[in-house]
Each structure stands twice: as structure tokens, then as C-alpha cells.
């Protein structure tokens, strides 16, 4: 895919939640984001600034009040629930903080679920082997979710998000439930995937260390974009310091 193509284009996105007595709480207020193919982008900000809502709206889990979201030339804000589900199945990979794996299935079945739902699992086994090798989970594919560690669960969730070769991976705090070592491993795996498979990634995170692995960091404040930091040619450690400094300036967490 051409790296200059915008995989995700968000224009003037608004979202608010109704409160009592006819009032509403604005969560996203005119967000504009463009993400190119193969780019790793982090969205950061204080709790309640709208990070998870942004991911939910992009993935169609929640609905925007107004604005436009175009994922690879397809406008998704007008889709109904079923169209959105099918679009999500074919074009989006989702990773959650609490993994959202089905305890009733083993790792292999969990990873293959998107293909099974799409009734398109002819190359499933092959893809699974490839992803398992990249994510180092070959040895646990027959294990049940309750029998594996948090880091392994998140790697299984990443494999599941990649199994349908999505145009974009949306990750909500992918390292939020993990210890420091597992978090580092997960980010390294995500980087490997980004490099080897040219996967596009948008993740929301509190973790500056995790954000430093990305090409770009978007800082949200009170539902608006406060700033966008580009990694450019900086090394990861310098970019990490850069993010720290900037967060201090804008009073982020």
C-alpha cells in the first residue's frame, strides 16, 4: 500500500453523552486526524479527555454525533449496526486493555474467531502459524485463556486483531493491564508487526513509554487535539523525553 495514502481520515468529529435534565457532556469536540498507511499513532491525554470514546467511535462500537470518519475511502458514520459489524469484521482489528478474549475457547479458536465469523477460514491455519511465530505464542495455541498469563493474553488478542489482515488496528490501552516487561514485549511485537506486515496502528494510552514506540503522538485535552508530536528521525529515548516534556507543559498525566 502507498505509504502516503490516508488510511484513516477523521474530520470535525463530535460526540457527547446525555446527562440528566436535558444536559449533555461533550467528550469529543471537533477532532481532525489523518493517519497514513503503515503509521503507528498514539493518542494520549488525561483520564476523561475522550481517548476511549475516540477509539469506540472509530471502530463503530459507539456512534458519533457529527463529523466524518473515512477508513480507506469508506465513510463509516452513516453505516447501520449490521453494516458496521461486517465492516469491522473485514477492515478493523481491535485490541482491548482487558483483552476481551472468550474464556470458553482456547487461544487458537479465539484468534481464528474473526475469520470464522466471516466464514472465510481457508488460509486461517497458515496465517495463525505466521502470527503465532511473530508473537511467540506457538506453544500456547491449544491452551485455554484462563491458563495463560496477561502478556500472553494480550499477544493472543493482537494475533486475533491481525488475523483478518485489517486496514487498521485500533488498540485501547493495550499495555494497561500488563507489567513493565510484558508491556515492553507487547510494544516490541506491535512494532515488529508494523514493520513486517505494514500494519497501521492507532492506539490510545496513558503510558508514555508505549507511546514512544509510535511515529506520531496526538495529545488530547478536554475533547480537543492539544498537539501532535512527530517522532521523525529522533531516537525512541529522545522522543520519550520529548513526550514527557510536552505532557508536563500541557498539564497531562
Amino acid at each position: 500500500m502507498d505509504c502516503e495514502t490516508n488510511i484513516l481520515k477523521i474530520t470535525d468529529l463530535h460526540k457527547s453523552y446525555p446527562l440528566r435534565k436535558g444536559l449533555s457532556l461533550p467528550v469529543l469536540q471537533g477532532i481532525d486526524i489523518k493517519i497514513k498507511a503503515g503509521e503507528m499513532t498514539a493518542v494520549m491525554g488525561a483520564s476523561g479527555c475522550g481517548k476511549t470514546t475516540l477509539i469506540n467511535v472509530i471502530s463503530g462500537v459507539d456512534r458519533a454525533d457529527s463529523g466524518s470518519i473515512i477508513i480507506e475511502d469508506t465513510e463509516i458514520t452513516n453505516m447501520n449496526k449490521s453494516q458496521m459489524a461486517i465492516f469491522r469484521r473485514n477492515h478493523i482489528g481491535l485490541i482491548f486493555q482487558d483483552f476481551n478474549l472468550l474464556e470458553s475457547l482456547n487461544v487458537k479458536d479465539n484468534i481464528l474467531l474473526p475469520l470464522i465469523l466471516d466464514k472465510n477460514f481457508s488460509h486461517g491455519e497458515e496465517l495463525l502459524q505466521k502470527l503465532a511465530a511473530i508473537l511467540s505464542i506457538e506453544g500456547i495455541t491449544d491452551k485455554y485463556i484462563t491458563d495463560i498469563s496477561g502478556g500472553e493474553k494480550q499477544r493472543a488478542a493482537i494475533a486475533r486483531a491481525l488475523i483478518n489482515s485489517p486496514q487498521i488496528i485500533l488498540a485501547d490501552e493495550p499495555t494497561g493491564s500488563l507489567d513493565a516487561k510484558s508491556a515492553k514485549d507487547v510494544m516490541e511485537y506491535l512494532t515488529t508487526i508494523n514493520q513486517e506486515l505494514q500494519a497501521t496502528l492507532l492506539m490510545v494510552t496513558h503510558d508514555t513509554f508505549a507511546a514512544s514506540f509510535c511515529h506520531k503522538v496526538i495529545l488530547l485535552k478536554e475533547g480537543k487535539i492539544a498537539s501532535v508530536l512527530e517522532k521523525g528521525d529522533k531516537s525512541r529515548s529522545i522522543f520519550l523525553e520529548h513526550i514527557y516534556e510536552f505532557l508536563k507543559q500541557i498539564g497531562g498525566e
Binding site: R89, S104, P114, D118
Partner: protein, 629 residues
């Protein structure tokens, strides 16, 4: 095919919740069908075979079972769906469409419900057979016949299917209404939302007071049909009070209760639902079991009151003709002898028994004085028998005469006194007239049959059962009775009335205690499953406490107090409800004290059982806990 394989794996993993939901359906259908099949049994419900006092006693428990079906099935499905919702939301984030999820919900619910339904019909048939055996051989209702009526199957299927379709429809609508983000956080949100508010709590308490007011003021003044309204209002009051109690939760709770209550408050919405449902079940349990004990003693004394003579029958020119000598001979052969015998002349058509006041004075020593051209209406009722009575006077009567004229009789007054036993040969209404009017009616009236009421007392009525049966058979033989004649001309005796009341009371007590046992089990099963569903989270919390230094004894205390909060508030509410209504319903007939004492005894027994169950559940919970093993 692969998706079906995945579904099968998910079902296998979640088999416990599927089984539990199926058991709930089977259990409900078993009870429903068993009761409906007895209700539709012609030989049980027909007064020709079984005294209607006995057969009608099944109607209230059957109505309770129908109510139970309407309440319990939605609860069971909701509990089942709670676990499934999380899986559905994950599948939807992966691209499963809403239509596919709804189809799945539909398929799951219908499959499990159908299996539960079929299993329930089979188990229900078995339970109905046990009921039949109990009624026939333990209670002694030998005339009841074994039969399964198609209407029982239809009624059970219609109610069951109707409830299932409605709950499925409501839950699917709720599902469609919610967006995916809400579904993903449904569990936490459900517990957090709908916190109690003070205004709603005040409305709840007000509704409870209103229900008490209806019962104390209006009901006591004789409008007994308002008891259901009062109970309905009380149930709404309990629901509002329970769901808003947290608005007045004191902030400075004793420290040793604080942790236990914090466990509870994490799941406060489901705690409120379970507490309301189990309080309603406990309330009905205590009310009905107390009532059935009160009625048991009451109805035996009623049998004696309504049968003042040991043997009573009506003799006319064709029926029940038997000489005194023959009658005494039959009785003597069965070890019973006549101690007194009276005969009262009367006239009867299809509607009235007409008796002369002079004849009554002479034979029974009464002192009724109807003036010429008037009548006294006799109500043979005991106003304190625990039942409602309709004492509506008839107004002016016109007795048709043979010369196509009419003899008018004015209403003079009404008297309430039991002079005769209830007897099928007597008309429903008895009037007492002046002797002159009586003689005129006897001579000139059209359609009146002269007959004699024969009233006999025996030396020992308690052993007269066989003698009365022999006498009935001999009379049937002597008078060439057909089966119908025998039914209409049957003798009325104290022993039969006593036996019928005893059987009716035993049957009622049996039904009520059976239903109560089911209610008790259902209430405690609901609470136990709620505790079980929270076990994982609770273990995590206990482990956190363990890390800051909690001991095994302290863990026991915390869990015991938490479980008391689950098991006891609903029972205490039920006890207040049960005792209050038992006192008031019975107080109208002067059995109030007996009523509350009976309900109180049941309450103490249930309370002791509940405390034992709480301790046992806590022991089980502590055994399950990995920390102190």
C-alpha cells in the same frame, strides 16, 4: 460448520449456566403442569365425586403457581442472559452482526426452553401422579379417577410459551436499543445505575402505609374484597422501598459491618432485585401457610356448627321412605343407636323451603313470630366461620296458587340461625311463615311438595360412618333409587361433614405447604446463585484483605455478615408482611390472634432454617476460598 463448532465449544464451556436455566424451566413447568392437570381432572373438580370444599382448595395454590411462573421464568432468563451478554458483546466487536446475535439468542432460548418444557411435562406428569396417589390413598378421596386432560397440556403450554415469548421479545428489544459500548460495560453499569433516591423511598414508604391503611381501616369495616388491593399495594411499596433503601444508608456503619456491606453494595442492583423477589415469595409463604393452619382448626369447628344433627334427611312420598324400626335396626347393626329423633313438616318447590313457625316452635323450640301475610327469611349461616356471607333479603314473594291467583307474602325480617344440616334435598332459601299461611299454601299452592325433615342424634356420631353408608345403601335399595336420585336424596350427617372438612383442610394444607416449600426453595436458590455468581470477585477482594493481614476468623465474620445481609432482610420483610395480613384477614372473623400466632410459628421455623442455611452457605464459601486452605 466452523461457527457451529465454536458455538458448541462455547455451550460446552458454559454448560453449567445452560443446565441451570434448563433446570429452572423444567422446575417451573413441572409445578405448573402438575397443578393444572389436577385442576383439569374432571373427577376431582366435579362436586358429584368430590366435595367442592376439597376440590376448590386447589385453585388458590394453582393461581400462586401461575404467578410464580410469570415471575420466576423472566428472572431465570435474565440471570442466564447476564452471563451470555459479555460473550455476545465480544463477538460483536469482532464483527458478528446484531441479526446473527438475535438469531443466536432466539435459538438458544427456544432450544433450552423447549427441552425444559418437555422435561417439565414429563416430570409434571410424574408429580401429578404422586398428587393423585396422595389424594386417593393418603387423604382417602377414593372417587378420584386417574386422567390426563388435553386442556392441562394446552393451558400449561400456552402460559409457559407466552411467558417465554414475552421475555425473549423484551430482552431482544433491550438488546437492540443498547449500543455496543453500553453492552461491553453492561455488567458494571447495571450495578451502578439506578441508585436509590429519597423521594422514591418516601413514595415507597407512603405506599406501604397506604396498603396498611387499606387493610386496617377499610378491610376491617367489612369490604373484604379489598385485601388483594392492599396486598398488591404492599408489594409495590416493598419494591420501591427496597430499591431506594440505599438513599438513607448511614455513613457511620459499625466497622465490623462496613466491609460486609461494601461487598453487598458492589452488586446493589441485583441485590435489590433478589431481595424484592425473595421478600415477595417469603411473604406469600408465611401468609398462606399461616392461613392454612388457621383454616384447618377453623374448618373442623365449622363442620360441627353447620351439622347440628348427627343424621339428617328429607323424606317425601317417594324418597327416603324407611320405617323407624328398620332405620334403628341398620344403625344398631353397626354399633350405633338413636338417642333422639325429630320430624319437621315443610313444603318445598325448586326455590324455597317453607316452614310453619308453629311447627318449628313445637319441634325445635324456636320463637319466630311471622305475622299473617308476611315471612321471616332464615339464613342458616355462622357469621364467624371465616367466609364471606351474602345476606340479601328477597322482598315480596308471590306464591302461585292452583286457581291461577297468587298469595303475596311480605318480607318481615331476617334471622340467622342454623336449624338443619346442609342437605341436597332442601332448596337454597328457607322462609318461615305463620301457620295459617302455611296451611293455605299447603292446600292451595301450585308446585309445592310436602316433605318431612328428619333429625336424628346418635349416641356416638364419631363411629357412625359405616352405619350411615349402610343406611344410604338400604334407602337406595328400598326406594329403587337411580344414581341421580341417590345423589339428590343423599343423607346428611355430622360424620360426613366432619370427614369432608378434615379432608378439605388436609388437602389445602398439603397444597399450601407444597407450594410454600417450592417458594422457599426458589427464594433461597435465587440468593445462593447470586452469591455464587459473585464468588470470583469476592475471592479477589478477600485476597486483597488477606494481603493486608486479615485472619481466617475475620474472613468468616465478614462473609457471615454479608450472607446475613443476603438471606435475612427479605425474610424479615416477608415475616412482617405475612403476619400483618394473616392477623387482619382472620381478624374480620375474630380469628386474628390465632392467625398471627400461626403465621408467627411458621416465621420462627423459617427464620431458624434460614439462619442454618446462611451458616452452611458461609461454611461452603470459606471452604471454596483458596486462601485459607
Amino acid at each position: 460448520m466452523a461457527f457451529l463448532k465454536i458455538l458448541f465449544k462455547m455451550i460446552r464451556y458454559n454448560h453449567k449456566s445452560y443446565k441451570l436455566y434448563m433446570y429452572c424451566n423444567t422446575f417451573t413447568m413441572t409445578l405448573l403442569f402438575a397443578f393444572l392437570s389436577i385442576c383439569s381432572n374432571d373427577s376431582f373438580m366435579h362436586s358429584y365425586y368430590i366435595d367442592s370444599k376439597i376440590s376448590y382448595n386447589i385453585l388458590a395454590p394453582a393461581a400462586l403457581i401461575c404467578l410464580f411462573t410469570i415471575l420466576f421464568l423472566p428472572y431465570a432468563y435474565k440471570a442466564f442472559l447476564k452471563g451470555r451478554k459479555q460473550e455476545y458483546s465480544i463477538l460483536m466487536t469482532l464483527g458478528m452482526t446484531e441479526r446473527e446475535v438475535i438469531a443466536n439468542m432466539f435459538l438458544e432460548c427456544l432450544t433450552v426452553s423447549s427441552i425444559g418444557c418437555i422435561a417439565g411435562l414429563i416430570c409434571g406428569s410424574g408429580l401429578a401422579a404422586l398428587f393423585f396417589l396422595f389424594l386417593r390413598y393418603t387423604i382417602g378421596l377414593t372417587t378420584i379417577q386417574w386422567e390426563f386432560h388435553i386442556s392441562a397440556y394446552l393451558a400449561a403450554l400456552i402460559l409457559y410459551t407466552g411467558v417465554i415469548i414475552i421475555i425473549l421479545f423484551i430482552n431482544i428489544l433491550e438488546f437492540i436499543k443498547a449500543n455496543l459500548a453500553e453492552l461491553m460495560s453492561a455488567k458494571q453499569k447495571e450495578e451502578r445505575k439506578k441508585r436509590g433516591t429519597m423521594p422514591r423511598l418516601i413514595i415507597g414508604c407512603g405506599t406501604l402505609f397506604l396498603s396498611f391503611f387499606i387493610m386496617l381501616s377499610v378491610y376491617s369495616s367489612g369490604k373484604t374484597n379489598l385485601s388483594l388491593l392492599s396486598m398488591g399495594t404492599a408489594i409495590i411499596g416493598i419494591a420501591l422501598t427496597v430499591s431506594n433503601f440505599d438513599s438513607v444508608m448511614p455513613k457511620n456503619i459499625k466497622r465490623n459491618w462496613k466491609i460486609s456491606i461494601s461487598f453487598l453494595m458492589q452488586h446493589q442492583k441485583s441485590w435489590k432485585t433478589v431481595t424484592f423477589l425473595s421478600a415477595s415469595l417469603f411473604g406469600l409463604l408465611i401468609f398462606f401457610s399461616g392461613l392454612s393452619i388457621t383454616l384447618y382448626s377453623n374448618s373442623l369447628s365449622n363442620a360441627m356448627t353447620y351439622s347440628p344433627y348427627d343424621l339428617f334427611y328429607v323424606q317425601d312420598h317417594i324418597s327416603n321412605r324407611i320405617s323407624s324400626r328398620k332405620l334403628e335396626h341398620i344403625l344398631n347393626n353397626n354399633g350405633v343407636s338413636v338417642s333422639s329423633r325429630k320430624k319437621v313438616e315443610m313444603l318445598r318447590n325448586g326455590a324455597f323451603n317453607i316452614i310453619s313457625a308453629k311447627e318449628l316452635h313445637k319441634k325445635l323450640g324456636t320463637n319466630y313470630q311471622p305475622v299473617e301475610g308476611s315471612y321471616i327469611q332464615l339464613f342458616q349461616e355462622d357469621l364467624n366461620d371465616g367466609y364471606e356471607h351474602s345476606l340479601t333479603p328477597l322482598g315480596t314473594l308471590k306464591i302461585p296458587l292452583k286457581n291461577n291467583q297468587e298469595l303475596p307474602l311480605q318480607f318481615q325480617e331476617q334471622k340467622i340461625e342454623i336449624l338443619f344440616n346442609p342437605c341436597k334435598s332442601l332448596a337454597d332459601i328457607t322462609i318461615i311463615v305463620n301457620d295459617k299461611d302455611f296451611q293455605n299454601i299447603k292446600k292451595l299452592a301450585q308446585g309445592f311438595i310436602p316433605q318431612n325433615a328428619i333429625m336424628i342424634n346418635l349416641d356416638n356420631w364419631k363411629i357412625s360412618g359405616t352405619a350411615i353408608r349402610d343406611l344410604q345403601n338400604s334407602m337406595a335399595e328400598l326406594n329403587n333409587f337411580s344414581e341421580e336420585d341417590q345423589y339428590v336424596s343423599s343423607l346428611s350427617s355430622k360424620i360426613q361433614a366432619y370427614t369432608a372438612e378434615k379432608q378439605a383442610s388436609e388437602v389445602l394444607t398439603f397444597w399450601i405447604f407444597f407450594v410454600d416449600l417450592m417458594f422457599f426453595a426458589a427464594a433461597d436458590i435465587m440468593i445462593c446463585f447470586k452469591i455464587k455468581s459473585e464468588l470470583k470477585e469476592e475471592t479477589r477482594m478477600i485476597f486483597s484483605l488477606y494481603r493486608i493481614g486479615i485472619t481466617a476468623k475475620e474472613q468468616w465474620n465478614i462473609l457471615l455478615k454479608k450472607n446475613f445481609c443476603y438471606f435475612l432482610p427479605s425474610l424479615l420483610l416477608g415475616i412482617i408482611f405475612g403476619i400483618f395480613y394473616n392477623y387482619n384477614v382472620n381478624n374480620v372473623y375474630h380469628y386474628g390472634h390465632l392467625g398471627w400466632v400461626c403465621a408467627g410459628i411458621v416465621s420462627v421455623i423459617v427464620l431458624i432454617l434460614q439462619i442454618l442455611i446462611t451458616i452452611s452457605v458461609t461454611k461452603h464459601e470459606c471452604r471454596k476460598d483458596f486462601i485459607f486452605d
